[in-house]
């Protein structure tokens, strides 16, 4: 028995004998504990309205659970038997019935659906909410635009119970875009009461209060400390959730989060280091669910507008010099899907993400670098987001070490999380690592954000290619027209081009990892990767 096992076994003994349980539960408390889900995570929401200015990702989770959308996705069985949202199948949520025509879709609202203050949900609330999403600007407006939802005139109130969405153009993404988090339906009368001339959409009110018809409502929220959500007993859009109350606590230290889970004090946590997940998986005290991010990859990006990375041969050299497998083992602990090393001659598939054919081959990298005119390498800076340092820091250290072998001398630059977006926006960092994942799980959606010449913030490399733009536009048109052969051809072409030009080198597809107590069931994977409290059951 080595030292480590010894320590572990002591910990286990302490757990098994349950020495001095910190609190004795009175029966009433035990009951409330039974119906309460305690979630711990590193950070919490800054705004509980997804239409708000600068709402962070934890804020999305609150919005998802507290508001309803017209439609949602069906579930299917995903990897390892975990329920997984079905990209192609929709189910009614607030709408009872959906009728998609050639250039419009009509929705009939569910009878008896009420907002949390008791007022019935009407078509004008839906219109007001959609108008708001396409008008307030920033992220919600951009997300709506991704599904060609751009103008208030597109949303027409037919009668109190019926709303029609007119299409600007044929776009395969319009219906899926109505099922993301952004087009949530709000209590328009309630919010309008709190609107002012300076704030016509009542953003200040919804920032702090929920005004939806959803299954949960926020009853207490201390930013940076905790969010308490209570079940909406009147929820009409699905079976009443089993969990009565969700307490979501922010615990900044990852070691403490793991301790809370292992001692059984917390029910769920999802942002622990990979190593912790890997270990907890093997000791089987908790349920660990690991699922690849849909449509997401972590990559090494290169600024293609500045030497030396403006030279495609240099970029290929870098792609041959990255320590792919080491990263998989030492950084990800196997909890990721490799996106490298496809056997030579593998046919390109009509899917994304898929593995490229580069592999760690220092000799080849050296030779490419010499032929590009850098026989002695060069100096550069590799930047990463400090907010995800648990993965990024060891990853970058390995990259630094590996690139040193081909003479590329790298300085590491950690950038605080809040400034990361700013730095990406400037598009001046020569070399960096980042993750991108798209809510809508379509290759052309990913490429539209990350490789298109419109140069969005996620085209972090500043990559511009008329050829690429042509394929992406071609795929979108073909998808809208339902022309499968043309669609397939375009998707294969843009994937091939992305791998040949290699402005960014995909490393792996990260996993969403969730650790739960054994008595917790009902986890479902959603495109937004946050928790859906509605289906959880505490046994």
């Amino acid at each position: 028995m080595d030292r480590r096992d010894f320590l572990k076994s002591t910990a286990a003994t302490a757990l098994a004998t349950g020495i001095a349980a910190p609190a004795v539960w009175s029966p009433a408390k035990a009951q409330s504990r039974q119906e309460t889900l305690l979630v711990v995570s590193e950070s919490g929401p800054n705004n509980i309205d997804i239409h708000g200015v600068g709402t962070n990702v934890p804020g999305y989770e609150v919005s998802w659970n507290c508001y309803d959308r017209l439609i949602s996705h069906e579930m299917k069985t995903g990897p390892n038997g975990v329920p997984y949202y079905d990209r192609d199948k929709f189910k009614p949520e607030l709408a009872e019935d959906m009728n998609v025509g050639d250039m419009s879709a009509t929705f009939k609202l569910r009878k008896g659906a009420k907002f949390q203050d008791g007022t019935p949900v009407t078509a004008k609330d839906v219109k007001w909410s959609f108008d708001r999403a396409v008008t307030v600007g920033g992220f919600p407006t951009f997300q709506m635009k991704a599904g060609s939802l751009e103008k208030p005139e597109q949303f027409v109130v037919v009668d109190d119970q019926t709303i029609r969405v007119d299409f600007l153009r044929k776009d395969k993404l319009t219906i899926p875009d109505l099922a993301v988090i952004v087009p949530c339906v709000m209590n328009s009368e309630l919010v309008k009461k709190h609107a002012t001339a300076a704030d016509p959409w009542g953003l200040e009110y919804t920032k702090l209060n929920t005004a939806g018809s959803g299954a949960y409502k926020v009853t207490r929220w201390t930013p940076g400390t905790e969010v308490v959500l209570d079940r909406n007993e009147e929820w009409a859009c699905g079976p009443l959730p089993k969990v009565k109350r969700v307490i979501w606590r922010m615990v900044p230290s990852s070691g403490n989060r793991r301790a809370l889970l292992e001692r059984g004090d917390a029910d769920i946590s999802y942002d622990l280091p990979n190593r912790d997940f890997a270990e907890m998986k093997s000791n089987a005290k908790l349920n660990i669910v690991s699922i690849p991010y849909s449509n997401g990859i972590q990559y090494i990006g290169m600024n293609v507008n500045k030497p030396p990375f403006n030279n495609p041969v240099v970029r290929q050299a870098i792609a041959y010099a990255l320590p792919y497998q080491k990263i998989m083992d030492a950084v990800m602990f196997g909890l990721a899907k490799p996106m490298f090393g496809a056997p030579a001659g593998t046919a390109t598939k009509v899917e994304w993400p898929q593995a490229h054919q580069y592999n760690t081959d220092i000799a080849k990298a050296k030779q490419l670098l010499s032929s590009a005119g850098y026989p002695n390498g060069f100096e550069t800076t590799l930047s990463f987001d400090l907010g995800f340092a648990v993965v990024n820091e060891p990853l970058c250290i390995l990259v630094q070490e590996s690139l040193a072998q081909i003479g590329v001398r790298v300085t590491l630059n950690k950038i605080p999380g809040a400034n990361w977006r700013t730095e990406l926006n400037k598009k001046e960092m020569p070399l960096f690592t980042n993750v991108f994942s798209g809510w809508l799980d379509y290759p052309e959606y990913f490429f539209f954000w990350c490789y298109d010449g419109q140069n969005s913030v996620f085209n972090t490399m500043g990559y511009q290619s008329k050829e690429m733009d042509g394929y992406i536009a071609g795929a979108r048109t073909a998808a809208a027209a339902g022309d499968t052969p043309d669609y397939d051809k375009n998707v294969k072409s843009f994937v091939d081009l992305a791998f040949k030009d290699i402005p960014r080198v995909p490393l792996f597809q990260p996993y969403v990892n969730i650790a739960m107590q054994k008595n917790i069931e009902g986890y479902q994977y959603w495109f937004h990767r946050r928790l859906d409290y509605r289906t959880f059951v505490k046994g």
Binding site: S253, G255, A259, E279, A330, L386, V390, E393, Q400, P416
Partner: protein, 299 residues
């Protein structure tokens, strides 16, 4: 208002002839006080590690070896290995130089800034005194660690900035100590004598006042050296430490802390011990120095 301000006024000490007596007294104190003697030995060990470190360690402190990641201490890796398979023993030893640099450089800097400002304030009084006093008060009114965080966050997390930030937050300690000591001696007989024999003010400051204050300042210096290392460690914990992959005790403890619950205790433990021993050694050295400097206090 410093830890040391209660020290009774130093009596004038003859500068040169006392040297031998001083050495003898030091020997006496070391023999008498095993704790101080131990801390002196430790200090010398740290200095040796700082000077020779990189050339005596068994592994390259930066070289990763993912096949040997997270190994517990063994004959090969005395202190085990970290997540990337780097040898912790080598990293701890090599880090000594950087940590000593941070400690010593920040102390030298604050001595030059705070010490001289304080001496001038105490000697000249009036406006000089008021300005130095106000600067000290303003710095003291900040929560010191947060001020250091702010400086490093604003100027960037380089070693130089960590040193500067540490020096700035210690400024009031030095300025106040030097001021009160200089103030006491301003009217002392030997200063009058020096002035009468035609010495200029700067010369009096440098050649007569400074040497008399030095012993007490040395005590302060050894104490703040410990805090400088702790300060750097705290900055690392919140992500403002030195750049990876540079080995530094604080950042190693901060990163290793996340591994404690999962049982890989050695990652944080050994750098933690090194850090603790260094701060410990500086602190005890401070106490010892005080005994050497101020024999009356011992009897």
């Amino acid at each position: 208002m410093t830890i040391l301000s209660e020290a009774p006024a130093e009596t004038k000490r003859p500068a040169a002839s006392g040297l031998m007596a001083m050495v003898r007294h030091t020997q006496y104190v070391l023999a008498e006080n095993p704790v101080t003697a131990g801390s002196f030995a430790l200090f010398i060990a740290f200095l040796i590690a700082a000077i020779l470190g990189p050339s005596i360690v068994p592994y390259d402190p930066l070289a990763s070896d993912t096949a040997a990641a997270l190994q517990s201490p063994s004959a090969h890796h005395w202190f085990g290995t970290d997540q990337l398979g780097r040898d912790i023993f080598s990293r701890v030893i090599v880090a000594t130089r950087l940590d000593m640099t941070i400690a010593i450089a920040s102390v030298v800097l604050v001595f030059l800034l705070g010490g001289f400002a304080g001496i001038a304030a105490g000697f000249y009084g009036g406006w000089t005194d008021r300005i130095v006093g106000r600067i000290s008060d303003t710095i003291m009114a900040f929560p010191l660690f947060v001020l250091a965080m702010g400086i490093v966050a604003a100027l960037g997390n380089t070693v130089t900035n960590i040193i500067v930030a540490t020096a700035i937050i210690n400024f009031p300690l030095y300025a106040r100590l030097a001021r009160s000591e200089a103030n006491i001696r301003r009217e002392a007989g030997f200063v009058h004598a020096a002035r009468l024999s035609g010495n200029s003010d700067p010369r009096i400051l440098m050649c007569f006042i400074l040497p008399n204050i030095m012993p007490l300042m040395m005590v302060q210096i050894s104490l703040t050296m410990g805090y400088a290392i702790l300060n750097a460690a705290g900055l690392s914990f919140i992500g403002l430490g030195v750049r990876p992959p540079t080995p530094e005790w604080g950042i190693m403890v901060a990163e290793g802390a996340a591994f404690i619950v999962s049982g890989e205790w050695w990652i944080a433990f050994f750098p933690g011990v090194a850090l603790m021993l260094a701060v410990f050694c500086f602190n005890l050295l401070g106490d010892g120095l005080r005994d050497i400097v101020d024999p009356q206090r011992r009897t």
